[in-house]
């Protein structure tokens, strides 16, 4: 009997969150291959959109793909190449970022980056009483970053909260630390900080701690990194919430794709992951101490 091939194409582990994605994808590969001997999962990482397109070409040139699970680097750039894979009869599962032409994806497990930003902003606005001064740290200039910032700023615009500054720190802890030091030097009064990713949040916290400044009420991140979820569980006063954006979504998607080869009814459609706030009350649902992220 022929093995069914599920190809998984994801970004290379260049920072915490993508590292988590790789981890969960490899976990899914191990579990599924152990459970279903007739399924072969191939996980491939790519460091750029260009490389991801190449990987798609390589994967489909060397074998017939029964299913493709892809977390696209960017929507625009991957749309055409994925359409080509689909043309060979491959079942397409798209994770996180939808393609520019939604008709290509048979299954879409969507993260909601806008909600990540918006929910954090709503919470913050409420806590600050709709006024105050905040600073924001951005990630790497990509769609995810753009959407989170958009979600956040759209909400903030409706309040009297002033965004003092917004700069890139490339989802890098070091750069976030440096940037936060500089924010602190530049602004005598900061009420809250939002780093749109938990990796950066850790750098921010270290800088705040070093400065000894006490007026900063909240420093928030997003993504549900285990260390930050732990802080939420422990009722950290400065970081009482986080927003999940679990890299494990790739694992769910791989399972859903595998489902149709193991006798169950094929799953199709859109599955939107919500971005509810992680609070001390529900934090244990989001805490995975064994995950690297």
């Amino acid at each position: 009997q022929d093995k069914k091939v599920i190809a998984v194409s994801i970004p290379a582990a260049t920072h915490g969150w993508t590292g988590g994605v790789v981890y969960h994808a490899e976990q899914a590969e191990k579990e599924i291959e152990a459970a279903f001997p007739n399924i072969d999962v191939i996980v491939k990482t790519s460091p750029s959109a260009e490389a991801q397109v190449s990987a798609l070409e390589d994967l489909s040139a060397s074998q017939k793909l029964d299913a493709l699970v892809i977390l696209p680097f960017t929507s625009e750039e991957l749309t055409g190449p994925v359409a080509q894979v689909k043309a060979n009869g491959t079942f397409i599962t798209v994770v996180d970022r939808g393609l520019a032409d939604p008709s290509i994806q048979d299954l879409y497990v969507a993260g909601d980056n806008i909600a990540v930003g918006a929910n954090t902003a709503k919470w913050l606005a409420e806590k600050l009483g709709n006024e105050g001064k905040i600073v924001v740290l951005r990630g790497i200039p990509t769609v995810i970053d753009d959407e989170r910032i958009q979600g956040f700023t759209d909400v903030i615009k409706g309040t009297k909260i002033e965004i003092l500054d917004i700069q890139y720190a490339n989802w890098n802890k070091d750069e976030a630390f440096t940037l936060m030091q500089d924010y602190l030097a530049k602004y005598p009064q900061i009420d809250a900080v939002w780093a749109n990713d938990d990796d950066m949040l850790l750098g921010v916290l270290e800088a705040v701690k070093q400065s000894g400044r006490t007026e900063i009420k909240y420093a928030l991140g997003g993504n549900g990194m285990k260390d930050v979820v732990k802080m939420v569980m422990d009722k950290d006063p400065m970081t009482p919430i986080s927003t999940p954006y679990p890299p494990s979504m790739i694992k769910s998607a791989i399972y859903m794709a595998a489902a149709q080869f193991v006798g169950q009814a094929p799953m199709r459609g859109n599955f939107k992951l919500d971005a509810p706030l992680i609070t001390p009350e529900n934090a244990d649902q989001f805490y995975f101490p064994d995950s690297p992220f």
């Binding site: 990482t45 460091p47 190449s54 040139a61 060397s62 960017t74 750039e77 055409g80 200039p141």
Partner: protein, 327 residues
């Protein structure tokens, strides 16, 4: 001069063994490829790999000029993103009035912008007399920032209406050869012609080999080097032209780290980083080697995904060592 260029009628041409190095290394990685995965040699796969290597190869032809004339250009990857951005914006703007002809107009603008970017690099290096490393690291930041700004941190997609007419420039064939490969061949042939057959090529080599000798021989080293940067810019624009239909958008991450790939291709190809020596066919072999190695990483299942970069590094070093010992 490589042996691969049309032999001159004047006397026997010596093939230097050293010059075959990159081709031996290429043969080695191909051999590894065949051993690892039988589908490596499949027509589609080979066509894919060769076509993809076109971008780096075309840019690396320009880099061969820059490096052999004694310069270095770290900005090519960002420049590529910037030129791509400008081209797409131009095409989108012109599409309503010109239809698919906007592609030609956009490509033309792209070439001009590429040449200007190269000119900027060249002038700062030669007139400002600053190390090319610093200058192009600076302009690398500048171009990258510009594309980020143009795209508002997001992406600049090409107009849907232009996708289909533009598509063949990457996916089509000319005489059975994929268009990018065809373009690469033309660029390489023109490059080889300029380097090995024209006055400019000679002067380029002289400027890189010993700039004092060049100056004393009436070569304007500054002009020659500036020109090399302009050629580099043009090559970047040509690569951008056949890059757009492949991915259909410019983003702040387009072309990221290509500069390293490009320089690696040039150096693997046998061009010395200190200048004075240009092996343009070796450069092409270098670009192919890099692309084949990347392809092998996808085709083989031996390596943990975390370690891909390590294995890639090891293979490059081993290939270089192997050709040194075969010599």
């Amino acid at each position: 001069m490589t042996a691969a260029i049309a032999p001159s009628s004047a006397g026997p041409r010596r093939i230097r063994l050293a010059d075959t190095g990159p081709f031996i290394a290429l043969a080695l990685v191909v051999l590894i490829g065949v051993l690892i995965n039988s589908s490596f040699l499949s027509g589609t796969n080979i066509a894919n790999v060769v076509t993809r290597s076109a971008f780096v190869a075309i840019i690396a032809v320009g880099a061969t000029f820059v490096i052999s004339s004694g310069g270095l250009d770290l900005s090519v990857g960002s420049m590529m993103a910037f030129v791509t951005g400008i081209m797409i914006m131009t095409m989108n703007r012109l599409e309503p009035s010109m239809g698919s002809n906007a592609i030609f107009a956009g490509a033309g603008i792209g070439l001009v912008v590429g040449a200007l970017c190269g000119l900027l690099n060249g002038l700062i290096v030669t007139v400002g007399k600053i190390e090319p490393f610093i200058v192009t690291l600076g302009t690398m930041g500048i171009f990258r920032a510009l594309i980020t700004w143009m795209s508002d941190g997001g992406s600049i997609p090409i107009d849907r209406a232009l996708r289909d007419p533009y598509r063949p420039v990457y996916f089509g064939n000319v005489l059975g050869i994929p268009v990018p490969v065809f373009l690469t061949l033309i660029v390489v042939l023109i490059g080889a012609f300029i380097l090995y057959r024209t006055k400019y090529g000679r002067r380029c080599m002289a400027a890189g080999s010993n700039s004092d000798v060049a100056r004393f021989s009436g070569v304007s080293v500054a002009k020659v080097r500036t020109m090399a940067f302009v050629i580099q810019g043009l090559c970047v624009a040509i690569a951008a032209i056949c890059y757009i239909p492949r991915l259909g958008a410019a983003t702040p991450t387009t072309g990221q780290l290509w500069e390293l790939q490009v320089i690696t291709a040039v150096v693997i190809g046998g061009t010395a980083l200190r200048g004075g020596k240009a092996r343009i066919w070796g450069t092409v072999a270098g670009a192919l080697i890099l692309e084949v190695i990347a392809n092998l990483m996808v085709l083989s299942n031996l390596v943990s995904e975390y370690l891909v970069a390590a294995v890639q590094g090891v293979i490059i070093i081993l290939a270089m060592l192997a050709h040194r010992f075969i010599k």
